[in-house]
């Protein structure tokens, strides 16, 4: 009896404990957030969670990763530049999600002898399956075939446009479908260096515009050369990284920006370049594409976000990696922040020195140079719903997109884009009045105007008789009143009554 009671008691305690402990592991408060219309931080459910953190031991390597800097994804393959160990790792992502090492490339067959990499910083795979590697300390870009034979070298351009005193140290590269190579090199601020497929230098692309105001210019004119040396020079900013999206447009990002330039709009943290090198990034959001809006000192970090790497996913959604606070910012095709998450530290999902960002489908991969690890993020239910809703809208399935946004709203009632998404879906279905209400709630003036225009048109068409009736009344009543008054005066002044 007593024993039985005890057992029952234990079971009850166990049940209580089970009920008390949360069923899902909750991330820290404020890990994922967004900015409201007024620029205030709004906590949000996690859109991404860490699914695994891969280190060298998980891949079965003897030597730890040392300052890895480059990452490239093609299909289910990941190429990782282990810069400090001068080797490139090819990793296969299994269907189950586990990552396994395919091979480690530390040398290749040159024309005469086998050659080794010297601090490879970035890697890309062309349409033809060839591997392009930025061999930074080797001062060249090498093109290798599948067997590791050297096919081609891209070396320092012999061109007057390129400063010949400067060592050619390619850091980051992208390859387009025609085999043209775009690269970012150390100390080159004229834009991206473009090589034709045959290896010839064909110029710079997308140089950042130099802007300075008249006051700066006048000061420079009257300053002595010593003073001038002290001043900041008007040089275009260097790009930090680039990514070629599936349409052949190049996303670039730079951390060489000052708070003042970002504030005044003179500098862009993120650009999207077309073939002409012009910036075509859509900036329709309430806030510019520059990461964090709050720059005050907090947690030992201050100043604007400095973008280290960028990657573009489906539907022109892109993510940028901030190296100051170790955060990822995901934007939609209109340049509106979908969500931001991450942080500095040694917990999973936090970084010590994030160096590269890539995506595999909807998963995000972040390389940490100091920790020597690769973090794999997978979208949560919340993140998946957001992506689905945008996907359905792009595909023209407005009704389902609206339903998906409703589900997002159930998970996060503060999500502005869900309201706007529902509104847009309603507008496409001709429910302008309801759409207006959703847009009004989240201050979307453009869409509100669009919906209101249609709403007003319909209202006027429905009430056309009422409007004409009212107009007739407004016009006729004073007329009639005037007439009546005239008649009365005539009666009053009529001679018959004067007597």
């Amino acid at each position: 009896m007593g024993k039985r009671m005890k057992r029952l008691g234990t079971a009850a305690v166990c049940l209580l404990l089970a009920a008390g402990s949360p069923t899902t592991v909750r991330a820290e408060e404020g890990y994922t957030y967004n900015y409201s219309y007024w620029g205030e931080v709004q906590a949000s459910p996690d859109a991404y969670r860490v699914s695994q953190v891969v280190t060298s031991s998980a891949l079965g390597l003897d030597v730890n990763l040392k300052t890895p800097e480059g990452l490239f994804v093609s299909g289910d393959r990941i190429w990782l530049c282990d810069t400090g160990n001068s080797r490139i790792l090819e990793i296969q992502a299994e269907d189950s999600g586990t990552l396994s090492l395919v091979r480690s490339i530390d040398s290749f067959h040159g024309p005469d002898k086998d050659e080794a990499f010297a601090a490879p910083t970035d890697v890309a795979v062309g349409e033809d399956g060839c591997l392009y590697v930025c061999d930074r300390d080797g001062q060249r870009i090498v093109k290798l075939d599948g067997e590791g034979n050297l096919l081609q070298e891209f070396t320092k351009p012999k061109d007057a446009n390129f400063d010949q005193d400067l060592a050619f140290q390619p850091e980051k590269l992208a390859v387009d479908s025609a085999g043209r190579v775009y690269c970012v090199a150390v100390n080159v601020n004229k834009g991206l260096i473009k090589f034709e497929a045959d290896g010839s230098f064909s110029g710079f692309v997308g140089a950042a515009k130099v802007t300075y105001d008249l006051a700066d210019y006048l000061w420079k004119k009257i300053a002595t050369s010593a003073q001038r040396g002290q001043m900041e020079s008007f040089v275009p900013t260097e790009y930090d990284n680039l990514y070629m999206d599936e349409d052949g447009f190049i996303y670039t990002c730079t951390g060489n920006v000052t708070a003042a330039d970002l504030d005044s709009g003179a500098a862009d943290a993120v650009r999207r370049l077309n073939m002409m090198g012009n910036d075509i990034l859509v900036r329709n959001g309430e806030w510019p594409v520059l990461g964090d809006l709050e720059w005050e000192e907090g947690g030992g970090y201050k100043g604007p976000s400095l973008m280290q790497d960028i990657t573009a996913m489906e539907n022109d959604i892109y993510a940028a990696l901030d190296r100051v606070r170790g955060r990822l910012f995901v934007y939609d095709d209109q340049g509106r922040l979908l969500f931001a998450f991450g942080g500095n530290g040694s917990l999973d999902g936090h970084f010590k020195e994030p160096s590269a960002l890539e995506h595999m489908g909807r998963n995000l991969l972040v390389l940490d140079a100091l920790a020597g690890s690769l973090t794999v993020f997978t979208p949560t239910e919340y993140g998946t719903l957001i992506f689905d809703a945008m996907d359905q809208f792009q595909a023209g399935d407005y009704a389902r997109s609206g339903e998906t946004w409703e589900q997002v709203l159930e998970l996060n009632g503060n999500y502005d884009l869900a309201y706007i998404g529902i509104g847009r879906a309603l507008m496409r279905q001709g429910q302008y009045g309801e759409a207006m209400e959703y847009f009004r709630l989240k201050w979307d003036d453009e869409n509100y105007s669009r919906a209101f225009k249609q709403y007003r048109k319909e209202w006027v068409e429905d009430h056309i008789f009422l409007i004409f009736g009212a107009a007739a009344v407004v016009l006729c009543v004073p007329l009639a009143a005037g007439k009546l008054r005239g008649i009365r005066r005539e009666i009053d002044t009529a001679e018959i009554f004067q007597k």
């Binding site: 219309y37 007024w38 009004r440 201050w443 003036d445 453009e446 509100y448 105007s449 669009r450 209101f452 225009k453 007003r456």
Partner: protein, 216 residues
Amino acid sequence: MTNKKQISGSRYVRSLRYALYCMSHPLDGFWDLTHEKRGSLAAANTILLLTLLARILKLPFTSFLFLQVNWEKINIFLYLASVLFPLALWCVGNWGLTTLFEGKGRLDQIYMATCYAMTPYPLIQLPLILLSNIVTQEEGQFYMVLGGFSLLWAALLILAAMMEIHEYRLGKTVLFTVGTLFAMLVMIFILLLFFSMISQGIAYFVSLGREIIFRM
């Protein structure tokens, strides 16, 4: 008794209606406002109240396309002070300056004329609130232009009012308007100085007291 009240009531209505005449005939209107005593302080107060009312009604009822209000940041008293404080400074500054230079207007007349000159603001802004709700963003130009027009009209009326009640020429009026604006700045500066001096003085004695308590 009731008869007298009726007359004063009708005088109030007549003086209020006179604001409309001043709007369209500023030179003639503002001359008669004081010289023929056709205006009244009660009507001036009414116009000021209407102006404040228009300012307040603007906030919740203007379409968000043209005015985005962050309700958490709104302090209604500070918001009203943004009209009343400059108005008080203007009246005092203008009176102080013009009395020294043969201005014929008294302080109450300056206040009355300035309030009368603000008539276009409520008269245009109140219907504009309605208009803002039936136009789209592209048609917003109408709203902007009309809003600017109401301010410009009021500014011109203030100029005309000052000219007439002080019996000045146009050149002199413009000169003294600029002078008044400068006087307003000086007054703000002195007020700031005054408040910072007072607070520093108080802080000195507070810290002195603290020190004494600490020593004892």
